[in-house]
Subunit: 174 residues, 2 copies
DNA sequence: CCCTTTTCACCTAGGTGGTAAGAT
DNA sequence: ATCTTACCACCTAGGTGAAAAGGG
């Protein structure tokens, strides 16, 4: 399914006339598997508020990459508004053949954002290193799950995503 | 609404590595306005099978152009399968601001297909003439209408377009 | 009478969380 | 007990012809 919340980024400093590819990938934060705790007597798992280390991580998943579907595009195009990776989809299916990003559930990940300058020179491979920049925002780290583990995330999604309107019981402006 | 049947074209002879823009426009076939005849006593206008000249054409509409949404793309990409202009939309609304192709209803049009080579040279404007090719297929001429005037076209559409499944009463393979 | 416009039920296509059943 | 899977009603978004209403 789509990642939520969506990764969005505002870009500065590109050459407006040059072509760029924008992409994302995900790297494990640690080598651990996590689990939830339901406090004794609590009615819902949602009431738990912390993650416990549950052991060593599962074998790493294939390190796939997601190209922003507007790639390639001119710097001017990328910079003129916030770039949103809302088409990016996550799956836990190791056999996935839709090109989605494969993650292990109950593991922690760090999204990474990459910018590739499309070098028009014939020997552009030589400059691959300098034409490639990676940006990491640590505040975007998350635990992958197959079902929401936190009521406030569920409510945020219901309030902000038009496809979840069916579950709203109050004004989304609230 | 979308044009039906869709204009589709198979392309050969491009430079696989070069970029091309593909586009269409529509030119009037003549300076006439047409009308249908319903034979005396016929139940439906659909029973008529010919067009009568009904006078001089209405003032020409703005000559808009439709770029294939995949433009620009490499020659290899365009040539590897049939190119379909199924997103192209027609309207009779002179004030349209959706960028649709504006046509006069009950007038005859000739679709035209244009290929533009994206010249990477700095002074590419100089070569505009030679980088531009137009193809006309006379068998694609049609009369623009606001409602189908021919039962067989209606049936063809119902049989072939998934959005019209609600009107099917037999197997589309027939 | 002929054509155009508007509205509608009915589709395709696909993104939601809920829920019940399944798995470990 | 905890997590995963499959399915579902309910949405968004938009492409259909039919039919009714409108216009000249």
């Amino acid at each position: 399914r789509r990642m939520f919340p969506t990764f969005q980024v505002k870009i500065f400093g590109m050459d407006p006339m040059a072509d760029y590819m924008l992409l994302m990938d995900f790297v494990p934060v640690d080598d651990k598997r996590y689990r939830q705790v339901t406090p004794r007597g609590a009615r819902y798992a949602f009431h738990s508020s912390s993650w416990l280390v549950a052991g060593k991580a599962d074998p790493a998943t294939p390190g796939r990459v997601h190209y922003h579907p507007d790639s390639p595009a001119k710097g001017a195009q990328w910079m003129k508004q916030i770039v949103s990776f809302d088409k990016l989809k996550l799956t836990n299916n190791l056999l996935d053949d839709n090109g989605h990003i494969i993650l292990n559930s109950m593991h922690r990940y760090q999204p990474r954002f990459h910018v590739v300058y499309v070098d028009p020179r014939k020997d552009s491979e030589k400059y691959a290193e300098e034409n490639f920049k990676t940006f990491v925002f640590e505040e975007t780290r998350f635990t992958a799950v197959t079902a929401y583990q936190n009521h406030r995330i569920t409510q945020l999604k219901i309030a902000s995503n038009p496809f979840a309107k069916g579950f709203r019981d109050c004004d989304p402006e609230d």
